[in-house]
């Protein structure tokens, strides 16, 4: 009897040893959630393209393991995003959930993913809640905290001595963060602060109010299709020459093809630009153009590419042992991978400490080509977000 037990135990031990090398055949499962339908679909497509390019660059493996990537469409709705992420965590049992464009979707998704003990790697939305009290060791982002980019623009406009600025954003989590951030560094007079309905197609009424206030300059945040509508109508209303327009996340590689000259001269702040000359970025932008018919990637794509690279570094750091979550957290905190923005580090709330640049839409290389975004100068070097002090996490 005892002998039998011993045999059984030996067998069990042997079996355990046999399964150990099987870590090598284990799969990394990544659930990538973005908006693939509706007006936001263009952003999701750019993200997916960049994820696929990252996998190409990694030889279709992540951290040396076979990778399976499952895409999910949140339709730009928090409830749908939550549903999709629940399915990924419970049914597909993914190791990482990544992606998410919209802050309101992120606020619905991130807590439930991290509570389930699954990593959440944000590749765009950076709502302040997740940088402050709601920070979590299972949450990392390869993007930024919402307030940072407008803080950079506020700083630039403040330094340029611009006063009397009229500010506008859509009425949702990120819109509020953006204007809050702007007001944190811009100390001049705010001529008006306007929140519009999300995905509202027509801004004519708001533009008439704006003109009546006669500000010195205008600052807006209108991502994706909203930006296209806004820029077209701003130009059509003849405001372009009247009130200089400054923006964040409004003019980018995805909206420029739809507005062309209406974007020329536009100033934006951003942590990344297609013309940053580090090795990873040159490879990313060049190969993206090759793979996707000459299209230029956007920062949405760069962050998503980085997201996969960060996951790759995490899995590599624990030698493929996906059960070692502590080890992966420790690795990711080093941000030890070749990022498209160049070297950066993580704050204790898992948000990047990184540079922010002033970008300008300038005429493209050929006469017929679209305007391109180029770095003008560095506004903030190694810049930290303003909410880390509320984050209790220590390491």
């Amino acid at each position: 009897m005892q002998k039998n037990t011993r045999t059984l135990l030996t067998g069990l031990l042997a079996a355990a040893f046999i399964t150990t090398p099987a870590w090598g055949q284990q799969k990394v499962k990544i659930g990538f959630i973005s908006t693939f339908s509706g007006p936001g679909g263009v952003i999701g497509t750019d993200m997916r393209n960049s994820v696929e390019l990252a996998l190409d660059h990694l030889g279709r493996k992540v951290g040396g393991l076979d990778a399976e990537i499952i895409y999910g469409d949140d339709q730009q709705k928090p409830d749908v995003g939550k549903q999709v992420s629940d399915e990924m965590v419970k049914k597909h049992q993914v190791n990482f959930v990544a992606g998410i464009i919209w802050s309101n979707v992120m606020l619905a998704v991130a807590p439930s993913v991290t509570q389930a003990g699954t990593f959440m790697i944000g590749t765009n939305a950076g709502p302040h809640q997740l940088a402050g009290e709601g920070c979590n060791e299972m949450f990392f982002t390869t993007s930024w905290q919402n307030d940072q980019t407008p803080e950079a623009m506020g700083k630039y406009m403040q330094d340029a001595g611009i006063n009397d600025v009229y500010i506008m954003a859509p009425n949702y989590a990120a819109g509020k963060d953006m204007l809050t951030g702007f007001k944190r560094t811009f100390k001049g007079r705010i001529a008006g602060e306007v929140y519009t309905t999300v995905n509202q197609p027509d801004y004519q009424a708001e533009l008439a109010q704006l003109r009546a206030k006669n500000p010195k300059a205008v600052f807006v945040f209108y991502p994706g299709g909203m930006g296209i509508n806004f820029l077209k109508q701003y130009s059509e209303a003849g405001l372009r020459g009247q009130f200089p327009l400054y923006s964040v996340y409004t003019v980018d590689e995805l909206t420029i093809p739809a507005v062309k000259h209406a974007a020329l001269g536009q100033l934006e702040t951003r942590y990344w630009s297609q013309d940053l000359k580090n090795e990873a970025n040159v490879k990313f932008v060049g190969d993206y153009r090759k793979k996707y018919g000459g299209k230029t990637p956007s920062f949405y794509g760069a962050q998503s590419y980085d997201g996969i690279m960060l996951i790759d570094s995490a899995v590599r750091g624990v030698k493929g042992n996906l059960a070692d979550k502590k080890g992966m957290i420790a690795t990711m905190r080093k941000a030890d991978y070749k990022s498209t923005r160049g070297k950066y580090s993580y704050g204790h709330n898992h948000f990047p400490i990184q540079n922010f640049y002033l970008l300008k839409a300038v005429a493209g290389p050929a006469t017929a080509s679209d305007p391109v975004m180029e770095v003008q100068k560095t506004v903030f070097a190694n810049y930290k977000d303003s909410y880390g002090k509320d984050c209790k996490m220590k390491w």
Binding site: V42, N229, P257
Partner: protein, 307 residues
């Protein structure tokens, strides 16, 4: 100064109103006469915008592109009616909603395949992109005035067709009592195809007018369709008059709410209240109006007679 602003916002409200009217006219006729809930109406608006933008890029003539875009949307509308919607008239509304929702997905994917997911470049011809001086100090975009003019002209034309021609008589009769019209020997199927085709062309017209100033992208129709349904509920289903009144009311209320609700609330209650409640309330205003209409006049402000 303030009066000029009010005048300008009135024009803006009017412009949004006629845009909604172009969409609502087709939708309300299709619902009133054919008893068909057509969620895909916004898809036809998108088709109009895409076709016209594409023709404009390839022909270089905006006028020609408008003509081709209109004709194209008319053809697409007729084909959709013949192929898909014909089989749905006798089914209940839930089936129609499902089927026309399917059409939305179909058309959104189709334009994404043909033109890509990104918004395509569209612009105004130079002769329409200037400004007009009004009331001395106000500069109003010429193109917005053109939209108002076209919308008004279409409204007059529709009124004439519906109330003064034989076709209009049949349309009104169809809205009141379909069975009787069929019993009197009118080819109701042909009438349906014509009505749907023209409804589609009107949606296409709204779309092609929107093209140069809005983002031309997959799903653009759904953003405006909800407001159009509000218009129809307020105006009364199946009634062109109702659609016109409803569209102008919704256009005005929405524009005025967005422009003046926040300053008015700030002045009346407190700036904090204006900041907090203004934007939220402004975006709810037309739905509150709809709820009020449904509560006090469920058949709408101008219901079609006899239905």
């Amino acid at each position: 100064m303030n009066l000029v602003l009010v005048a300008e916002q009135t024009l803006n409200g009017l412009q949004l109103g006629v845009m909604l009217f172009l969409l609502a006219a087709g939708l309300t006729l299709v619902f009133g006469i054919m008893n068909l809930v057509n969620l895909a109406h916004g898809a036809l608006y998108m088709v109009g915008a895409y076709l016209t933008t594409w023709f404009y890029q390839n022909t270089g003539s905006f006028a020609l592109a408008v003509a081709l875009g209109l004709a194209g949307t008319l053809v697409v509308g007729i084909v959709v009616e013949l192929v898909a919607l014909r089989t749905l008239y006798e089914r209940d509304h839930l089936d129609q909603v499902l089927a026309t929702f399917g059409l939305i997905l179909f058309f959104n994917e189709l334009v994404a395949i043909l033109w890509g997911r990104s918004a395509i470049y569209s612009t105004l011809p130079p002769y329409l992109s200037g400004h007009v001086e009004l009331f001395g100090t106000m500069r109003y975009p010429l193109y917005r005035l053109v939209i108002i003019g076209i919308g008004m002209a279409v409204a007059v034309l529709l009124w004439f067709v519906v109330s003064r021609t034989r076709l209009g008589m049949l349309i009104r009769a169809g809205a009141s009592n379909r069975a009787m019209v069929a019993a009197l020997g009118v080819d109701i199927r042909l009438l349906y195809t014509i009505v749907f085709g023209f409804g589609a062309a009107l949606a296409g017209l709204a779309g092609l007018l929107a093209g140069p100033i809005f983002a031309v992208q997959p799903g653009m129709g759904e953003l405006i369709l909800i407001q159009v349904f509000v218009v129809i509920v307020i105006g009364g289903i199946g009634s062109i008059r109702g659609a016109f009144a409803g569209a102008l009311i919704v256009g005005m209320v929405d524009t005025m709410g967005r422009a003046f609700l926040k300053p008015v609330l700030s002045a009346l209650i407190s700036p904090a209240a204006g900041d907090a409640a203004g934007p939220a309330l402004a975006s709810m205003l037309i739905y509150l109006l709809m709820a009020a209409v449904l509560a006090f006049r469920p058949e709408g402000l101008f219901p079609s007679r006899g239905s």
